[in-house]
Subunit: 327 residues, 5 copies
Amino acid sequence: MQQLLVWQNGQVSTNCSLEALPGILADPQALVWLDLLLEDELQPYQDMLSSKFKLSRLTIETLNEARERARLVEQTGYFHLVVHGLAFDVENIEARTPKLDIIFGHNFLISIHREAMDWLASLLDEAHDESEEHLMSRGAARLLHAILDTQVDSYFPVLDVLDDMSDDLEDKAVTDASNEVQARIFRTKKALARMRRVISPQVEVMNSLITRTGDFIPTSAEPYFADVHDHLVRTFEVLDSYRDLMSGLLDVYLTTVSNRLNVIMKQLTIIATIFMPITFITGVFGQNFAHSPQVETDKGYNFWIVLLVMVLITLAQIWYFKRRKWI
Amino acid sequence: MQQLLVWQNGQVSTNCSLEALPGILADPQALVWLDLLLEDELQPYQDMLSSKFKLSRLTIETLNEARERARLVEQTGYFHLVVHGLAFDVENIEARTPKLDIIFGHNFLISIHREAMDWLASLLDEAHDESEEHLMSRGAARLLHAILDTQVDSYFPVLDVLDDMSDDLEDKAVTDASNEVQARIFRTKKALARMRRVISPQVEVMNSLITRTGDFIPTSAEPYFADVHDHLVRTFEVLDSYRDLMSGLLDVYLTTVSNRLNVIMKQLTIIATIFMPITFITGVFGQNFAHSPQVETDKGYNFWIVLLVMVLITLAQIWYFKRRKWI
Amino acid sequence: MQQLLVWQNGQVSTNCSLEALPGILADPQALVWLDLLLEDELQPYQDMLSSKFKLSRLTIETLNEARERARLVEQTGYFHLVVHGLAFDVENIEARTPKLDIIFGHNFLISIHREAMDWLASLLDEAHDESEEHLMSRGAARLLHAILDTQVDSYFPVLDVLDDMSDDLEDKAVTDASNEVQARIFRTKKALARMRRVISPQVEVMNSLITRTGDFIPTSAEPYFADVHDHLVRTFEVLDSYRDLMSGLLDVYLTTVSNRLNVIMKQLTIIATIFMPITFITGVFGQNFAHSPQVETDKGYNFWIVLLVMVLITLAQIWYFKRRKWI
Amino acid sequence: MQQLLVWQNGQVSTNCSLEALPGILADPQALVWLDLLLEDELQPYQDMLSSKFKLSRLTIETLNEARERARLVEQTGYFHLVVHGLAFDVENIEARTPKLDIIFGHNFLISIHREAMDWLASLLDEAHDESEEHLMSRGAARLLHAILDTQVDSYFPVLDVLDDMSDDLEDKAVTDASNEVQARIFRTKKALARMRRVISPQVEVMNSLITRTGDFIPTSAEPYFADVHDHLVRTFEVLDSYRDLMSGLLDVYLTTVSNRLNVIMKQLTIIATIFMPITFITGVFGQNFAHSPQVETDKGYNFWIVLLVMVLITLAQIWYFKRRKWI
Amino acid sequence: MQQLLVWQNGQVSTNCSLEALPGILADPQALVWLDLLLEDELQPYQDMLSSKFKLSRLTIETLNEARERARLVEQTGYFHLVVHGLAFDVENIEARTPKLDIIFGHNFLISIHREAMDWLASLLDEAHDESEEHLMSRGAARLLHAILDTQVDSYFPVLDVLDDMSDDLEDKAVTDASNEVQARIFRTKKALARMRRVISPQVEVMNSLITRTGDFIPTSAEPYFADVHDHLVRTFEVLDSYRDLMSGLLDVYLTTVSNRLNVIMKQLTIIATIFMPITFITGVFGQNFAHSPQVETDKGYNFWIVLLVMVLITLAQIWYFKRRKWI
Ligand SMILES: [Mg+2]
Ligand SMILES: [Mg+2]
Ligand SMILES: [Mg+2]
Ligand SMILES: [Mg+2]
Ligand SMILES: [Mg+2]
Ligand SMILES: [Mg+2]
Ligand SMILES: [Mg+2]
Ligand SMILES: [Mg+2]
Ligand SMILES: [Mg+2]
Ligand SMILES: [Mg+2]
Ligand SMILES: [Mg+2]
Ligand SMILES: [Mg+2]
Ligand SMILES: [Mg+2]
Ligand SMILES: [Mg+2]
Ligand SMILES: [Mg+2]
Ligand SMILES: [Mg+2]
Ligand SMILES: [Mg+2]
Ligand SMILES: [Mg+2]
Ligand SMILES: [Mg+2]
Ligand SMILES: [Mg+2]
Ligand SMILES: [Mg+2]
Ligand SMILES: [Mg+2]
Ligand SMILES: [Mg+2]
Ligand SMILES: [Mg+2]
Ligand SMILES: [Mg+2]
Ligand SMILES: [Mg+2]
Ligand SMILES: [Mg+2]
Ligand SMILES: [Mg+2]
Ligand SMILES: [Mg+2]
Ligand SMILES: [Mg+2]
Ligand SMILES: [Mg+2]
């Protein structure tokens, strides 16, 4: 799917044809935003991109790769920026990090992605409407900032989801000794590692956007990009602290498992400690001799006396376990 | 809540109206300190801040965000500094890190926060009184230093509380095998991570305050800011060492749990090792045969002989366990 | 095995003799590619390399060493680049990292290796054919790029194999408590460490290829080498994240082992808790007294009454274990 | 306690009065060394320091703080250096790191500390004696070097004590499963963390002493300070490696505890495996039937035959345990 | 022991007296190599070194210290380099890192060590023989390179020994649950830490040898020193990866211990699960009642029927354990 927005003479037009592009691009006051949501392959758009926007072979190759590290490449007449979205599937505990290619020059910006992104869609919607301070009215740098700012803002709900999930896991780790807790912690760690791997180079890239794009970003706009950079650093630090948290949760879980073993072994020990001595007593009086004292002295109470002794022994043991706080 | 302090002509006045501000700000020898304790939203003060102090859109946006990384942003005519307080709730083992925005120019300083802070309140009280060497008498840079110095000094009582708590946990970890110790260690780790995340960028920011504010901080005042920077580094290092300490405590606790299991299993083994052999003996003499030696040779002592043998076996076992230091 | 390719006057010739080399190397427009697949020793080629290409003693020494760290050495008239291939043997869980020496000057490139490499072989095949845009038609720098690019692309299938294997291990770690899982995790870690150790200096080397080769790499080709550098960084990061994954898998496995112990101990405890009390009852009624109540009151039902009591006790215990979710 | 040493005209005098100081300090060839061992507070000396040596408010504040990070502050007319001593109490496994403030200018040096330090005392003693090459004869920089060099040399005996203690712990960790080993490892780790925290900034400070003191340290003396810096780095590295060692010892100890559990469980299993089968046999022949084979076929040997069978079963089990290396 | 080699006028002489040294050192074309193998103390050579080679007091002090960090110190007229050898005692699993001091100027080199080193001895032997390309014929820098190159080459056999030992430990960790494996892993870790601590600063030193010795190392010789630097980095990386390997082996060993416990507990559980139910049955029929069904209905088969039932129960249990893969 392709959306072409042209800002020219203080007005946005959404029904420009690609044929008119060369003329528009020749106007330094115009601003073109082309958004491409690829079905699968870049193929259908490749020739158009090469001819109309003069993209290099390297740029086309990079666009064709599904997975790329975040980066900023300067090419003749434009910059190529690779960034990533962040999404988290709570059901399967899986992170998705769809790639977003942004190609921008002094009066155009192309955004190319293989997955629909909500925040980008609403930004495009906003750009369709005429508004007092239109998104595209202040040039390519401010449009780029709007996109990157909105993208980074879209990370924070993901972090909130992670926060809820980790609180939930924290409760489970204490109460639930089943293997499932462990598996969830592992999958979360894996997802966090993936997100960190994607955000980490993005932090650097946002920094070089300020320092390496020359006069593309005017000095007055630099604090805005620094703000985005700062939010990226915060995202990275929060992801990092969740990784530590998961390690901590694993410790909690393993202690829960260990304590459960202690509880089981205590029960076994209590049972054995109570029944072994009194069972031994029944064995003593179950022996066959020619002369058994408990038989020869029996006036009808011996059975009950022995039983009473066994009850007393048991009570003494229970008292002992209570005192040692075992039961 | 809003407090406005104006230092002009060697005197502090606390009842200035906001309308008089433009005139006062035009006097380079004056110094304005405006403290805003927000109920919830910046909204009521937003227009005043924009019009009277010429704050930029980015600054207003940042003021509106509840959580921000510590930072120093240079804007036209002023700097925007974001720092954080540190508080620790011993009951729930939770850290709070309220944000404090400080906006300062050559003759004004605005402090904005959503939570009341004791140390800031007493600093404001101090500024209300006339004193020989008034807080605001030496210019904005020294006022900024006083605020930051007092804030960092407010961290050390928090570190002392953490120290007491970790001593307490150290005792518990050795004596108490309950899951609660583990949960407390985990929560402390989480709180420490939060505090570290807030202090870590603050260290850098304090450094750039010296290097990036040009002539705002006079060379003679730089060692004072370096001193605050040093105290921040020390805070960070102490927080860091507590994190290691917590990991060490977890090891202590886990060993306590393991040793408790060993104690339980020893008890079980001692019981089984004592009673199984003698119970076997009662079984031997409880068998039914046509000719049982213990019956046929019984002159009335066999029962007692067998009992004596069993007592001797038991004593031998107890001696053996004693020698192996099991009991 | 030796392959000599010469690009001269817009044509590739593959049957040049080594004797003609000095003449060809004198032509700055020509390009020579010599590939040496050593049987074992460099010896047979050593004199030729020294005399025809003027390689230094240090270069010859380095070529003779089987293991070398990745590096770029500038010598008089040429550069010496050491890089490594990546191969993974899934059966034995072992990594191989064959060394590839690349010596290049303005109009020649020599590739020397002790192991056959598929990707290099197909690149050589490609160079044998006349094609519109021949590999060697754009000079030594682009040929070098083609080789390095293809080599790094050959890493990604290895990463995919690792990905499959780690998914497989993830399943096994949860279900299989045998020692084999542990051994496989250990061997994978070892293989990953080896691969990391080889890729890590390669990242730096690719960077210095851009910054330290002066005009050998024209500015227009730099983004192409930066792209290879980026792919190397990605390879390194993925290897790094697999290392963390393996540590996570080990935790999963250890929990599986621990949980298995809990299952075993539960079974033992259930058995003991059920049978010890009722066995004790049989002992009570197996004692010999002159007057045993169960004998003297027996109207033929006592045996069954006692049996019923024992069944009831057992049912109560089973209900108790069910309620505690033990069975 | 206060000691004042004055080197003037090639002679040391120890009975100078403080009143004479301004005159002496005016002589650039003189050298004043003032050592202050504070009872508790700086108060009694504060005015004298401010007036005679022109110490700034910041310096006085820093002197008043009991705990400070190592640092070097340049002030008008002097430098303020904060370093720390290192002491280790083997009994309680506790580190002490008393602060030492050194204030030095071109012809004076003040050392201020709250704890007596042996090495400093003997250095002062040395300075009291007339000697051929007197400590103070070569200027303030060399005196500063003598103090720092002696201080760092005083660290190595502490490292040796740690070495002995860790050897001792190494033996204990293998043989002793009591909780005490664990507690000692934890306390040692805590002490090491404290020492590291104090030495770490000192390394940097020693470096800036060379680079940031301008002409105070003549080029010819720089290698001497570099030597001290190097010894500090070595101290730090040794402390660091002890930290790793302690983690390793903890592993050793935990394995000792685990192996002890295995030994206990083996004993229990051996006892149960030996006695359960033969006790079952006694149960079989203890049953009451109208026709019991062992009764009806008894010619007087059955008791002994059964006993023999039980002995044989036991011997077979012992042989089996021996073969599996359990006993 | 002292060896003095002098290269002058294209010839090596080994019987020069120390008295002739000043004359030889005055000849910029000569090259003096003095090797000192100290018995214990530097004392006997100290005066000679100070007077003939003008070594500074700092250099003499450093020579006198038995343990020093690797370093390069520039002094007037010479450089002082401290490096370390690497030796590993497989029997006691202990590393030795003897110090080697190298003092070199434009026409002399002094090597001083307290332990005999094989590689240095054979280098000295080589220098005694007249050869076509004599070791000392190309100046002090190349002699220094020969020494450092040979020393670093002497590290690789040590690494190979470590490799064999770790393979051996890998086998043992899986099969042997005795405490000895653990102790060996710990000692290896300790030895590795020592070696790392010695090699780590040597890497930096080798780097500064190139950058900080000015024209002592001619540009043409720099790649040779870079090669030694590279081999040092490789040594360091291999040592580092062995440290990770040891941690991995410890995990393997601990799992072996854990699995052994599981095996023991399984055996106990199987024994108890088999014998407790059938022993209970014998108890049931061993009770004394006036009317026991198994007595009153006995036609001579009841004993065998009960025995058969017990056999069937046992077989069922064995089948159950087989199905659950416990036996
Ligand atoms: Mg690419
Ligand atoms: Mg990536
Ligand atoms: Mg990770
Ligand atoms: Mg940045
Ligand atoms: Mg932010
Ligand atoms: Mg953190
Ligand atoms: Mg961590
Ligand atoms: Mg912001
Ligand atoms: Mg933050
Ligand atoms: Mg700093
Ligand atoms: Mg401080
Ligand atoms: Mg620390
Ligand atoms: Mg740490
Ligand atoms: Mg080499
Ligand atoms: Mg290497
Ligand atoms: Mg390597
Ligand atoms: Mg790079
Ligand atoms: Mg890439
Ligand atoms: Mg990663
Ligand atoms: Mg201070
Ligand atoms: Mg400190
Ligand atoms: Mg340094
Ligand atoms: Mg040293
Ligand atoms: Mg170390
Ligand atoms: Mg370590
Ligand atoms: Mg030294
Ligand atoms: Mg060292
Ligand atoms: Mg280097
Ligand atoms: Mg090498
Ligand atoms: Mg490694
Ligand atoms: Mg590691």
